[in-house]
Symmetry: C2
Subunit: 390 residues, 2 copies
C-alpha cells in the first residue's frame, strides 16, 4: 500500500483542431513524460478514457496508446462512463498504486469530437441516454439539462442572469489559461443575448464541442521520489464513484444525489470536509451544472449554488471560500469528453503546485474534482488532491 | 487482501435472438443471483464488458446495468479492449476483491451483435484495427486471421484438414452445451467444403456473430461463505494481461507473444505450470487461433498446436493433457464479443464444480481462460481458476 501521487501531467491544446486523437495524445504525453527518465521503464499499466468510437472509428485505444508510448506487452484498456471516462482512468491508476498492484500507471483521455461536426457529436452523445425511454423521444444533452435548469429557477431565487454570470466567470478564467478552448472574456449581455438552445439554456450556457487529450502519471511515493518530482507531486487523498438512475425522469432534478454520494466518498477517503477545499473543478457542462454541483459538493447551501461566480465575501452565509472552475471549466476551457476528467486533474495539479500562472489561487493546497457522465450524475467520479501535510 | 472466489455465474442463451442487450443480461443476472440472498446488499461495484455502442446506440452500460440490478449509487463502468472486454471486467472484479477494495463485485458482459446484421458487425469490429494503417486497406477480421493461418500452414505440418478438425471438435462440444449458438455436430467434409471467407479460412473455420450476455459474481472468501456457496465456489488464482502492437504487420504471425506474456503472468500469479491445467477456454475466434493459443499457453510444442482436436494420447510429445474449448468455444458456443470472456468463466466454473453435464471433464480442478481483443493478441487477458487445494 502506497499513497498515490500525481507526479506529472500533460494536456494538449483544447478546441477545434486538425489533429487526430493520437496527435492530440502525443502533445499530452510529450508534456507528461518531459523530465521523466525512461517512462517505458516505469509505467506498469495504461488506462484510457474515451467516450465514443464514432468520432474516429477506433476502439482498442488502450492497446494503441500503450504501443504509441513504447509500452509493448503492458496491460492497457479503455474505460467508459460517457464524460466520466477520464476520471475513471485516473481512479484506476490511483487504486492500482494505492493497493500496491502497480508502482506507476498512466491515466489518459482522448476525444476527437469535431471529426464529424456537431451533428455527429450530438448523435454520439445521445447514446448516453436510455435508449428505450429517452432516446426515442429525441432528447439532446441541452434539452435534458434544461429540465434541471427550469426546475432550479422555479425552486430558487436564481435567474437566467445568475447562470449567465457563471459563464462570464468561467470565460474570464479561461482567458488566463493558454490551453483553453475559448480565450476571450464575455459579459452577461453576451450570454443573455445568445440564442436559446433549450430554454432557459442559451448558447453561452453550454460547454463547447472540443478536441483534446490529457495524460496524468500516477505513482507511488517511492517512484515519485525516484523521478525527482516528489517536491512538486500532488497526493491523491480520496476517490469516490457512484451511479444514479440513467433516466432524468427517475431522479431528483435539483439535488444531484449521485454526485453528492461520490463526493462524500472522496471526502471520507481524504478525511476532509468541504470547507477544506480551496479550488474545485466541477463538471460544468452547462452553467446550471456548476450551481447544482456546488451544492452537491457541500460548498453552498441548498438553492444558493448559483452564487459560484461571486467572490467568496459576496456569497450567502453557509458558502465556503472555494474557487470553482479556475481552468475555465468545461464551459470555457473546453470539454473533450473522454479527456475532461483528466484535464480537471491537470488544472488541480497546476494550482496545487503553484504553476497556474495568472489563474493561480494563492495558497491553494486542497482540490476537489467532480467528473460526470450522462446527464448530470448518471455516473460520477470525484477526487480529492492535496499537497503538504498528509 | 482476500482470495477472490467466483461464487455464482449466469449466462443467457447465445445466438441470434430477438432479445435486447438488457433482456439478455436479465437472463444472465437472474441465473447468477439465484440463491444469492440480497444481491443488492452485497454487490459493491459493477464492471461491464461491451465492445461497441454501435449495435444498440448505447453507452453508459455500467450505469444502466447497476440500475437494472437495483444497485443505485453503486460504482459501475464499462471496460473495453474489443473482444477482451469480458475478461477485463472479470479482472477488475478479481483485483478489487484481492486487494480488499470491495468484498463482492459483479462482472458482466453484453453484446447484441445481430442488431444490424453482419454488415454492421463487420463494420463495428473493423474499429479494432489501426485506422491509419489497417482500416484504410479494407481489412476484415477473417482476412487478418487468414494471414496468420497462411503463415502457420507454411511453417508447420498442419493442413486445412487439421484446422477443420478443430472446428469439428468444438461443434461436438457445443452439441453437449444447451446454451451454445450451434447445437449440431459437423464433419471435416462440411468444413472443407464450405466457402472460403479468406483463404485458407472457410466459413466453418470462423466463429459466428452472436448475441449474448454473461454475469459472474466475484467475492471474498468471507462473502462466499456467507452466501452459502463456498463449497462450490471457484478460486481465481491468477490473472494476467498484456497488449501487443495493434498492427498485425508489426508482430510475429505465428508466435502469439502478447498472449504468451499474459498467460505466463496468470500462471505466475497462480503458481502453476501449463501441465497443471485440465481444461482451457482459449479465444478460438478462428480455428487457427486455437492452434496458436495452445502453443502460446505452453500446452503444445511450437508448430503442433493444431493437434488440439486429438485425444491427449494421440498428440505429439510435449503436449499436455489439457482439454480445449469444452464449451464449444467461440467457434461453436458462440462469440458475443463483450460477453465472451465471461462465458469462458462460466464454462470453467461449471467444469470445476462438476456441473458441465455431458461436457464434463472428469476430475478437472484447474482451468485456464484466454480472452483476446483485436486480431489475435492486440489485447489479451488470461485467468487461472482452481478448486480444492488452498
Amino acid at each position: 500500500m502506497s499513497d498515490p501521487h500525481i507526479v506529472s501531467v500533460g494536456l494538449s491544446p483544447i478546441g477545434s483542431t486538425d489533429l487526430t486523437g493520437r496527435d492530440l495524445f502525443t502533445a499530452a504525453m510529450t508534456e507528461a513524460f518531459d523530465g521523466v527518465p525512461d517512462p517505458a521503464e516505469i509505467v506498469d499499466a495504461v488506462y484510457v478514457g474515451n467516450q465514443s468510437e464514432r468520432y474516429e472509428h477506433q476502439i482498442l485505444y488502450g492497446t494503441i496508446l500503450a504501443e504509441w508510448c513504447g509500452l509493448r506487452f503492458t496491460p492497457a484498456e479503455r474505460v467508459e462512463a460517457c464524460a466520466a471516462a477520464g476520471a475513471l482512468a485516473l481512479r484506476h491508476a490511483v487504486r492500482d498504486v494505492r493497493t500496491g498492484t502497480h508502482d506507476a500507471v498512466l491515466a489518459c483521455g482522448i476525444e476527437k469530437m469535431t471529426a464529424g461536426g456537431s451533428a455527429l457529436a450530438t448523435e454520439s452523445l445521445s447514446a448516453a441516454f436510455d435508449r428505450p425511454l429517452e432516446q426515442r423521444s429525441g432528447v439532446t444533452a441541452p434539452s435534458q439539462y434544461a429540465l434541471l435548469a427550469q426546475r432550479y429557477l422555479h425552486e430558487t431565487d436564481a435567474t437566467e442572469a445568475d447562470l449567465a454570470r457563471i459563464a462570464v466567470k468561467n470565460h474570464e478564467n479561461a482567458a488566463a489559461n493558454p490551453r483553453a478552448h475559448f480565450g476571450e472574456e464575455i459579459d452577461v449581455e453576451t450570454v443573455l443575448g445568445s440564442e436559446y438552445v433549450a430554454r432557459p439554456l442559451k448558447l453561452f450556457d453550454c460547454a463547447p464541442i472540443s478536441d483534446g487529450a490529457a495524460a496524468v502519471l500516477v505513482a507511488s511515493e517511492e517512484v515519485a521520489s525516484a523521478v525527482g518530482s516528489r517536491a512538486t507531486s500532488v497526493r491523491v487523498a480520496g476517490s469516490g464513484a457512484a451511479t444514479n438512475n440513467i433516466g432524468v425522469a427517475d431522479r431528483n432534478l435539483t439535488v444531484i444525489e449521485g454526485a453528492h454520494v461520490a463526493t462524500e466518498r472522496a471526502y471520507d477517503g481524504a478525511g476532509i470536509d468541504p470547507e477544506d477545499v480551496d479550488v474545485a473543478e466541477v463538471h460544468d457542462a452547462f452553467t446550471i451544472s456548476e450551481a447544482l454541483l456546488a451544492e452537491a459538493a457541500g460548498f453552498a447551501p441548498r438553492g444558493r449554488g448559483f452564487e459560484s461566480s461571486r467572490p467568496p465575501a459576496e456569497r450567502s452565509d453557509g458558502w465556503t471560500n472555494v474557487r470553482l472552475s479556475t481552468s475555465g471549466g468545461l464551459k470555457a476551457r473546453g470539454h473533450p469528453i473522454g479527456a475532461t476528467g483528466l484535464a480537471q486533474a491537470v488544472e488541480a495539479y497546476e494550482q496545487l503546485t503553484g504553476r497556474a500562472g495568472d489563474r493561480q489561487v494563492p495558497g491553494a493546497d486542497t482540490a476537489l474534482l467532480i467528473n460526470e457522465g450522462g446527464v448530470a450524475d448518471a455516473a460520477t467520479v470525484a477526487h480529492v488532491l492535496t499537497v503538504g501535510g498528509t
